[in-house]
Each structure stands twice: as structure tokens, then as C-alpha cells.
Symmetry: C2
Subunit: 441 residues, 2 copies
């Protein structure tokens, strides 16, 4: 099948339950970005580039806010639907002269995992006129009263609507449509202007199919409650499966709250946060290199704060669709410099109080251990991800744990003991990784 390359997005409704002030609902901001921007950029992640936005209520404002899409690497075309109050079916119909091939149909207020689009395209229409992504058991927030339900026979849709007496799954609002949706909508419009009415008509003719999305995220943002649920869900998705225990229970909860707050700034970019975290570590290293317990403790505390704030660059990058391969790499390199400086600062502190050969050698051992732990992390994490998919959670001694150890060691005024611990733990972790990976090869 030819890939659907065009995407119709419905953004005409008034969204009274969510709307604040005079803006239209698709412009309601969620973690720093308007809802509709999230919809478009998520679809872009699934490979779509050509978008047709149907506007109605406050259409001019929407158009002005979004522009032509070039800054996101997509093309945005606008279709005004003066009859938007007749229902969302009339908004789909507004595109009938423009879409002559199968196309993706999205709601301007439904957030989703881009994999759902990929799965719809992989399944393809396969002879049907419409393929709707449905969810039998939504894992996330779902407003049971207001949600559109579907009744299924096998993978055929037999009925759809908000008030079905019995149903099998929920409508995720993500469709793959052939242009045959248009005559169906034209036929139902005089009586019922909803999209569901047109889908029902195709369903009655046995021409509408459903594809089940299992465990994939999607969320219809209709109410302030749903908006809060969406925020919580997006933040939760930022946790990484390879996060170690310190990250999971200490750093991540803090950094997510920090990111939630920082993401509102339109100017702040992920690289700024990488530099901030690096700056905090540098300051911590300099403080630790000063004589006296107070400076050592302050430096140690800064190391832990740097460790927490280090999560924010990646979190904000993903929240704002600004993640890049280079950005991720640069962050990793800066982290290694921060690690090296912190070990250097602690070592120099030790030199000031105990300039022995043992201090010298343990400092070198700790520094090499920390850097070689990171050197072997990529390869080990590939293995780790496979294990996690199998439901296991293998050990991982990473940056989260070692910066906490360094911080605690400084706070407890134990520089020598801390360097010895870091050296032994990190080199043993590298040895353990070599043994694990050799068993897998």
C-alpha cells in the first residue's frame, strides 16, 4: 500500500470545558507547548510532514499562533470550516476536495504515542474504507462518560458513539481513512454532524475496521482534570527504564518537578540545562578543592544538586521535541568532565590533608574507575534493555549512585575512604559488566 502522507487534524471546536480566557482549546498549553503543537510534532515523529488543519472557533488566532509549520519541519495548511458548530463530521468534510488518497485523521486535542500511527500504517486499510485505533483497556486517564465507544465484531466496527449501551473498546481519535469517508459524512450530515455518524454509516456497510492498541499511551484532553492527567502522564514517560535506584527514588522525582517548572520558559533550551548542571559540578569541584570541612561539605552538596539537575536537560528536550543525537552526546561528554572534575576536587582536598602515595594512587584509580564505568555503559545498557523487556531488573551502578556516594563522603568528611570506595565499586562494576556480556556473546 502507498503510505498515507497527508494528515487531517480537527481543531475547529470551541472546547468550552477546557478553554481559559479567549484562546481556543487546541492552544491550551501543556508543559510549555500548546496541545495542537504536541499533536503535530508527535505525528511528525511518526514520519508525517503534510498537515491540513481544519479551523473553526477562533481560527484566525490558531493560524497566527502556529504559522506555516516550517520551524517544526512540517507544512501546515489551513481549512476554515464556518459550519464547525454542526459537529466534527462537518470539519472532516471541509477537506473533501483536497484529500484524494488515504490519509491520517487526528483530533487536535488527543495526545498519543507516535507508535500508534506507525502501527496503523503498517496494518494499512487492507481493503476497508476506515481503520480506527481502539483501546480495550485504557491504561491512562479516560473520561468514561464522555469517551467515544466502539462495538466490535472481530476487527470490524459494528457501532460507534458516546452513548452505546454496550461496547468493546474506546475510540482513540486516531484514524486511517480512505476518501470514501467523505460521501458517508455527506450522507449523515443533515441529521447528525458528528464524525461518529459517518463512521457508523461505514460500519453498517461493513467498511470500517478497528486496530487494537495495546498499552500505548493516548489521552483525550477535554477537561482541566484530563489536562492534569496528561501532564502527569507525559512527565511519567520521561523516566528511563535504565534509571538506577538513586535516580528512580531520589533524583528523578526532583528533576521532574524542576523540569515541569522550567519547561514553561520559552527561551530555555536543553543545552542551557546541560551547562547549568556542568557549572554546578565545576563549582562543587572547586569548593571541594579548598581546605576545610565547610568547603568540602558545600562542594559535596553541590555535586548531588548537579546530579539531580542533570536529568532536566534530557527531560526538557523530550518534552519540547528538542532532543537531538548531538545534544545527548554532548550532555554525556559534559557529564564525564563533571565527574572528572569532582573526583579531581576531592582528590586535591585529600592531597592538602594527606599527600601520600596511597592517596595519589587511589585518586587515579577512582578517576579511571568512574570514567571506565561510563565507557562501558553504552554496551551494558543495550544488554540491560533486553533484560528489562524480559521483565528483569539487573543491577546497574551508574552516575546517580556514584555522585550520591561522593556527596555523602564529602558531607561525612571522608575523602580517602570515598575515593577508595568509588575506585573499588566502579572497577568491580566494569569487571561485572565484562563477565555478564561475555556470557551473552
Amino acid at each position: 500500500m502507498k503510505r498515507a502522507t497527508k494528515c487531517l487534524v480537527l481543531a475547529a471546536g470551541a472546547g468550552r470545558r477546557l478553554r481559559a480566557k479567549a484562546q481556543s482549546k487546541p492552544l491550551a498549553r501543556l508543559l510549555g507547548l500548546p496541545l495542537i503543537e504536541r499533536v503535530i510534532r508527535t505525528a511528525r515523529q511518526a514520519g508525517l510532514r503534510d498537515f491540513y488543519l481544519v479551523t473553526g472557533y477562533q481560527g484566525a488566532g490558531l493560524r497566527q499562533a502556529l504559522g506555516d509549520g516550517r520551524r517544526w519541519g512540517v507544512q501546515l495548511h489551513y481549512l476554515a470550516n464556518p459550519h464547525w458548530q454542526q459537529g466534527n463530521g462537518s470539519s472532516v468534510l471541509a477537506a473533501q476536495d483536497l484529500l484524494e488518497e488515504p490519509f491520517l485523521l487526528l483530533m487536535g486535542d488527543h495526545l498519543f504515542d507516535p507508535q500508534i500511527i506507525t502501527e496503523l500504517e503498517a496494518a494499512s486499510l487492507d481493503g476497508a474504507d476506515l481503520l480506527l485505533a481502539v483501546d480495550r483497556a485504557p491504561a491512562g486517564y479516560c473520561d468514561l462518560d464522555d469517551a467515544t465507544k466502539v462495538r466490535l465484531q472481530g476487527d470490524r466496527i459494528v457501532d460507534i458513539g458516546k452513548e452505546l449501551p454496550s461496547y468493546d473498546a474506546f475510540d482513540t481519535g486516531i484514524f486511517l481513512c480512505s476518501p470514501r469517508i467523505f460521501p458517508a459524512l455527506a450522507a449523515t450530515l443533515p441529521e447528525d454532524g458528528s464524525l461518529s455518524a459517518g463512521v457508523r454509516r461505514l460500519a453498517q456497510a461493513g467498511r470500517a475496521k478497528a486496530l487494537e492498541v495495546k498499552g500505548r499511551f493516548w489521552l483525550d484532553v477535554d477537561t482541566p482534570q484530563a489536562l492534569r492527567a496528561a501532564e502527569a502522564a507525559l512527565l511519567d514517560q520521561l523516566k528511563k527504564p535504565t534509571d538506577g535506584p538513586v535516580s528512580r527514588y531520589l533524583n528523578r522525582p526532583f528533576s521532574l518537578q524542576l523540569s515541569r517548572w522550567l519547561v514553561r520558559s520559552r527561551r530555555l533550551r536543553p543545552n542551557h540545562l546541560s551547562l547549568l548542571s556542568f557549572g554546578l559540578a565545576l563549582l562543587g569541584a572547586l569548593l571541594m578543592a579548598l581546605p576545610g570541612y565547610a568547603a568540602l561539605a558545600a562542594g559535596g552538596l553541590l555535586a548531588q544538586i548537579a546530579s539531580i539537575s542533570d536529568g532536566c536537560d534530557g527531560e526538557i528536550a523530550r518534552l519540547k521535541f528538542q532532543a537531538s543525537e548531538f545534544g545527548g552526546w554532548l550532555d554525556a561528554v559534559l557529564d564525564r568532565y563533571a565527574d572528572g572534575l569532582l573526583i579531581g576536587g576531592l582528590s586535591y582536598h585529600l592531597w592538602l590533608i594527606a599527600p601520600s602515595a596511597a592517596s595519589w594512587l587511589w585518586a587515579l584509580a577512582a578517576l579511571s574507575g568512574v570514567l571506565l564505568n561510563s565507557y562501558t555503559a553504552d554496551k551494558y545498557d543495550q544488554f540491560l534493555k533486553k533484560r528489562l523487556e524480559q521483565g528483569r531488573r539487573p543491577l546497574r551502578l551508574g552516575r546517580d549512585l556514584r555522585l550520591l556516594l561522593l556527596s555523602l563522603g564529602a558531607l561525612l568528611n571522608l575523602p580517602f575512604f570515598t575515593l577508595v570506595t568509588l575506585a573499588l565499586l566502579n572497577h568491580l562494576e566494569v569487571l561485572r559488566r565484562i563477565i555478564w556480556l561475555s556470557r551473552q556473546s
Copy 2:
């Protein structure tokens, strides 16, 4: 087109010009492996698993030497051709009842780049009965008198043979055949038992096509001279495009000669060489950590020897088809430990003669610089390879150069100056890589 999964290999001839003692020519050893084993394992790299070997002269010995192929992850089937002296066409005919689908046809004494098979399969027969890989301008060794030539019209073969008055390209001995080659050979056999006679018959009917291999390696090993050329070519292929200048002009020439000699041992595995190189570096580090110039110089010399011998594990792995992802990774990790130990040894030597804070800090800076250079190498090398494909040769400060610097520094009895140099050069190199990569992103 269905992929050709079976491979017919001709190994029946006597090979008088190459043969030494009583063995058959396909068993002639080249850099530790019999020619025919190289042919089979190269074809396996291109994805083939099912091999039909036609034996003739000394067939029993060949069969005994190669076995069922399980140890190489392939299946070997043997077909005896009692009439092998009639010519190689009769050997192909021996397989006529077994091959009912398109198949690959290889010569048991022709070495080649596995990409040639991939390209033949990608081109596919496309309606013809035979597709022969041909070379208009062999880059490597080619015995002009003895080579089989082809005359072409576009991509059609119009004539083939050793004695063509004029020709356009050389026969590489790598064919994709339909089973229609068999009746053609049956028809020409009474007059001419060669494979060329059958191919000529198909060519006259307009059923034989040629695919040009541009710059790909292939070599017909017929004479002791060709065997030496093959050895030189295989060794030359071990040079890496990302080799730095010290590697290219100093380390690689030595390590290739060492590998050429070591590869003859049947027991020696690449991991043994990785450990040997690591052991040499460890010994060098321990010597450098002793007081006195003699130990320092001896340690420095060992560092350079370790650097040279470090090439051998990868070279031997590739020469013996023993390269593995884990092996490559483990070698890299061991190299990092060797680097760390060498810096540690030099630093400790410096501590013995000048235990100052400056020595301490420069030691830490050199150690982190060396390890961070390696940490950033993977990403930089991806970029480097793209540049090399564009015909440029960008700077690369890698292990080859830094171990030479360390060795020279130790020989010149300049531990402090060496650590400072290594620290500055490596950190500047990392900075340079960050800047280059940021420009590309």
C-alpha cells in the same frame, strides 16, 4: 525474486601450477586457512549457508579436511565428479539433479569481496539464465594470459574464453545461475568440457548477462605468484581507514608482519593477542612505576611494543573470520585499562621524584584526557568515516599517537613534560571533536 540460497563450489581440479606435495589446490593454505575455507566463509558473510562442493582430484582428502561445515555455521554437501579431467563444465553438470532453483556458482580458488555476491543477488537474474560478475579494470593482481575474458554488448555477454582476440572485461568466477545452465553444458560437453563453453552457448542465445564489479576485490589464485599477491591483498585490507598517521606508517606495518606470522598457529585466538598486548602494557606500567631511568625507559619501550601488538588481535580475528562484536568491545576496554595503567605508572614515577601538587593535578588531567579521548572516539569516528568517503582525511589524535608520545617521553626521561603534553593534547582533541561535531549537527 527469490534469493539464491544454495551455492555450488567447484573444487575438482588438480591445480598443478600451485599444488605443493600431495594436497589438492583448494587446500593450499593462505594466511592460516585453506583457500576453499576462505571461499566458503566469505560466501557465508554474504549470507549463504548451503554449499555443494564438487570434488574430483584428491576429493577424499578435501572432504576429510573440511567436514560437514557445522563449525563455520554452514552445511557442506559433497558431489564427486569422476570425470573432472574433462573440464570444470563437467563439474557443474554433476550438480544438475540437485539444483532446481537459481544458485550461486563459485570457484574454489577465487578469493573475493562478499559484497560482490550481495550485488549479484540484488541485481538478480532478471529474466536471464546467467549473471556473471565481471571486472573491466582489475585493481588487484590478474594473470592476463590465463584469465578468462568476456566480450560485452551493454550488459549482455557475447563471448567468453581465455583466448578472445578482443575483450571488454575479466570473468571474476562468481556467477548467479538458473538451472538452465545444465542443458547448455550438456550440449557443449562432448566437444568442450569447460564451463566457458556452456556460458558461451547461453551468450549466443542472448541469455547470459554481466554485472560489473567496480573496484571490488577478487583474485584467481592459480600460481605461487598469485598466492603471494593474495596474501598481500588480504593483509592490505586489514588497514583501517580511520588509522592515524602513527598507525599507518609505524604500528600497522609491524603488526601486519606479526599477524602474518602468528596467523599460522591454529591454536592462537584473537583474545590471546588482546591479553598479550594488555600484559605488555601492564608490565610497562609496572616498570615505569619503579625508580630510576633504566626502568622508566624500559617501561616506555614496552608501551610502544604493546601499542604495535595491539593491532594483531583485530587483524587475526578478521583473517580467521573470528571477529565478534564482544571481542572488539573487550579489546577496547582492555586498551583503556592499559592506557590508564601506563599513565598511572608514569605518574607514580613522577611522584617518586617530584611529589608536588602540580604533578598530582597533571597526572589526573592526563588520565582523564586519555580516557575521554577514547570516550568520544566512537562518535567522532562515525563522522570521520563519512569524511573519508568524501576523499578527505581529517585529523585524528588517537591511541597510536599518544602511546608513541608516552614512550618517547619515558625514553627521554621527561615524565612531567609528558603528562602535561598528554593532558593538553587529549583535552584539546576532545574539545576539537565537540566543535566539529556541533557544526555537523
